[in-house]
């Protein structure tokens, strides 16, 4: 009860920028409220009934005055607009080296998957300090909104569509994690905490698998999904009669029967799995089953991570050198990435087993085997 904050903590790089603009607008708000209030009060007191003041020839119209008080708010508004737009574009444009976190919202919990380490967590998000983090969000059911006030981070989590924004935490601590889009009965309890740790702590945390009961990399997990759904029974290493190959599918330009062509990204991959008939690859018919309702968003993220690695044998070997995130290569994760590379290349034994990649050999032993 005695802890009464007036302003929220600033715990991200974006929050610093954000508050700067916030206080500019706040100053303008105070200024104009004061001016309007003071002038109105002055006029009311001066011209109240019964005072002896000059009331002759009250003006009825004054064009220069009207123009003045139209143009001043307009110019100020445009300046604020430009600053706000710049800030928003920044917020929506993640840098290439950002750490990836996947977020699934569902009634009434948050689920996160760390792309780099594969650690999964619910209603909690652990982040390293000083590292840009790109969050890709999707909802399993209704619309939610991922809201971390101390980061000034908020974005809606929409079903059927990936949304994205990024943030760089700058302050170690524990912060609020809210759902800020009404999502049903327990909306107000769909929350938790964000833990910002030092890079070393984060590395240690993710190497130990966080709170994940079955630590595994996302690619490994994706492989399990791939096998469970038996994708390889049709999608082999080359285009054949039944289905096109998925080797190197990510980032490839593909032509479709409706005459369109698209570069395959996460959204396209997801659509091709959930609603395959929206766009069918040229040369093929409507033969793939629709996975709408048959695969959860929580499985789709790892599956896509896995699909990204297919056909990248060579790339995977070099994988650890050209890590996606040069700012962030804690050794443990680097080691596990090696294992991931090994998985792709089919040489799992090249990495020494640790607590976290114990399962690697097992998974890789069944590496894409059938269907070849």
């Amino acid at each position: 009860m005695f802890n009464i904050p007036i302003v929220p903590i600033r715990a991200s790089e974006f929050a610093d920028q954000y508050d700067w603009l916030f206080y500019i607008i706040l100053a303008l708000t105070f200024f104009f409220t004061f001016v309007v209030g003071a002038v109105t009060l002055f006029l009311v007191i001066r011209y109240r009934r019964g005072t002896k003041v000059d009331r002759s020839h009250p003006p009825h119209e004054n064009l220069p005055l009207e123009i003045t008080w139209s143009v001043i708010p307009l110019v100020l508004g445009l300046v604020i607009f430009a600053l706000g737009a710049r800030q928003f574009i920044y917020f929506k444009t993640p840098p290439n080296n950002a750490l990836e976190v996947y977020c699934v919202g569902k009634q009434w919990m948050w689920h996160f998957q760390h792309a780099e380490s594969g650690v999964r967590e619910n209603n909690a998000l652990h982040l390293p300090m000083g590292v840009p983090v790109k969050i890709t969000m999707i909802s399993q059911d209704v619309i939610h909104a991922l809201f971390i006030p101390e980061f000034r981070f908020q974005y809606q989590v929409v079903p059927g569509e990936y949304t994205q924004a990024w943030i760089t935490p700058t302050r170690i601590g524990t912060y609020h994690l809210f759902c800020n889009m009404y999502c049903g009965t327990q909306h107000s309890e769909m929350g938790g905490y964000v833990y910002v740790m030092s890079r070393a702590d984060y590395a240690k945390w993710s190497q130990n698998g966080g709170s994940d009961p079955e630590p595994m990399t996302l690619v490994q997990r994706g492989k399990l999904v791939f096998d469970r759904l038996n994708c390889a029974s049709c999608h082999t290493t080359r285009d054949d009669d039944r289905a096109p190959t998925l080797d190197g599918v990510y980032g490839k330009l593909i032509h479709y029967t409706d005459g369109s062509s698209m570069v395959v990204d996460s959204a396209r991959l997801r659509e091709a799995i959930i609603n395959p008939y929206n766009h069918v690859v040229q040369g093929y018919g409507n033969t793939m089953p629709e996975y709408q309702g048959a695969i959860s968003e929580m499985d789709l993220f790892p599956l896509m991570e896995y699909l990204k690695t297919l056909g990248q044998v060579q790339a995977a070997k070099k994988g650890s050198e050209s890590s996606t995130n040069p700012m962030f290569i804690p050794t443990a994760v680097k080691q596990r990435k090696l294992a991931v590379g090994a998985l792709g290349s089919g040489h799992a034994e090249s990495s020494s087993p640790t607590k976290n990649n114990l399962s690697v050999g097992e998974v890789s032993s069944s590496n894409r085997a059938p269907g070849n």
């Binding site: 109105t40 009331r55 002759s56 119209e61 004054n62 508004g77 928003f88 981070f153 079903p159 609020h176």
Partner: protein, 563 residues
Amino acid sequence: MSTTAILTEPKAKVEKNYLNVDHSIKSWLLTGDHKRIGIMYLVTISFFFALGSMFAGAIRLELTSPDGLFLESETYNKIFSAHGIVMVFFFLVPAVPAIFGNFLVPIMIGAKDVAFPRLNLMSYYMFLTAGILFLIGQIMGGVDTGWTFYTPYSSMYSNSQVGITIAAIFIGGFSSIFTGLNFVITIHKMRAPGMTWFRLPLFIWSIYGTSIVVILGTPVVAITLLLVVVERTMHIGIFSPDLGGDPVLFQHMFWFYSHPAVYIMVLPAFGIESELITAFARRRIFGYHFVAFSTLAISLLGFFVWGHHMFISGQSMYQGVVFSLISFLIAVPSAIKIFNWMSTLYKGNIRLQTPMIYALGFIGLFVVGGLTGLFLASIGTDVHLSATYFVIAHFHYVMVGGSVTAYLGAIHYWWPKMTGRLYHEGIARYNAFLVFIGFNLTFFPQFIVGYLGMPRRYHYYYFAPEFQAYHVMSSLGASVLAISLIVPACYLTYSLFLGPRASSNPWGTHGLEWTIASPPITANFDHLPIVTDEVYDYERLDREELLEENADGIEEPMPVKTF
């Protein structure tokens, strides 16, 4: 034109007027008289306002504790939904146009009635049907979607009375459309001789702008909500991605109406404000043309800013930026209005009676409401504030600080005309200050707690108990606000029966409605008025008054020191 008001006319002889011309219930239920329909709306809408306020009271009480006090989450969600639906669709949207628009539009333009009296009566019955349907929905268990009915929650997930509530809003929407149509035609075709467009009181301009928005916007929300019901009952995929629909599409269609709806709620308040300021500053409005055309500019631009409700919804980044730009443009006409009202005070002869106190309070609150809109129109700062209590505070400053304050001002200003009775000015004046204090105490803390990150529509906030102090403050303010709304209900009701009778022009103000009896006769005017003076021509009024004063030596025509 002028008035030498006799404060308490002898009670003996009461002229026939629209209220006492026929006392039978049938004569009320089947009336075509715009004034009687206005009064019926006043009664119905006051009921819904009281209902909505009680829902608000329950919300504020519940939020005094981070763990809740007496409600289940499900009940809480239904209560805030009901609060929003009642206040938006059954109070703010119809209040001023249906009550004061109905009562005043024909009189102010010098007509006997609206263009289509029977359509007008039908509008009322559709509104009543809508209200009853909504109440049936409440009795059957209520609705828990919030007033925004966001899909796919409303169409696929909610287990509450979505269908019947949407039916209620659908029917209520058509009531608004018919009323709007009636006003547009009335204003176009039935103005008295000499009542040119630029002699129209600004209230008429604002009702005109509102009606256009209602006619263009309401069908869209009606169809949108109908589509929700179609998806809900027939599982035809429109908004739900599971059925191949697009959930964000709903937001586009909903806000395409519901942003203009904000102007439906606030434009009539602007009109009232112009009337009150001129009446109590006793001078012509400054920049009549600018105020009139800024109304139309707001009506038009209001249709192009809906996307600012969706900055973080996943719509394209560039789309968001464009909507942000247009949202800043719409700030300009609102600023023009504020500055013109302030300038009207200059060299005025200001009487600080109850309606004027509300009018001045309106300026202050609306300025705060409008300026805090900048935080939300700026796409960068909206990221953090979107859907927090900051937004709640912002739109309550506009809707309650603006619309409700103007509504209360209007009731106090036109009450003598509508009922023929005077209320107790002293109590009313103090109460106006109480409204101002209670309102600010309720909603100002919400700006701070919103910036701190309190999400809206939260039943519990035990994750963040540090917000409690602000919630307690807010609930305290709500209690004050509640008292300040109960008090007028009491003294206005009292005045109906025991208040002194009002003269035809108790405020000594300018305008056609003050040239006729209070309350007016059924036909409004004894003979067709011919308008020869400019709008708000207080100089002429003052001259005439002076002549009469000199003639018969009556010292002060200004009345309303009552009892």
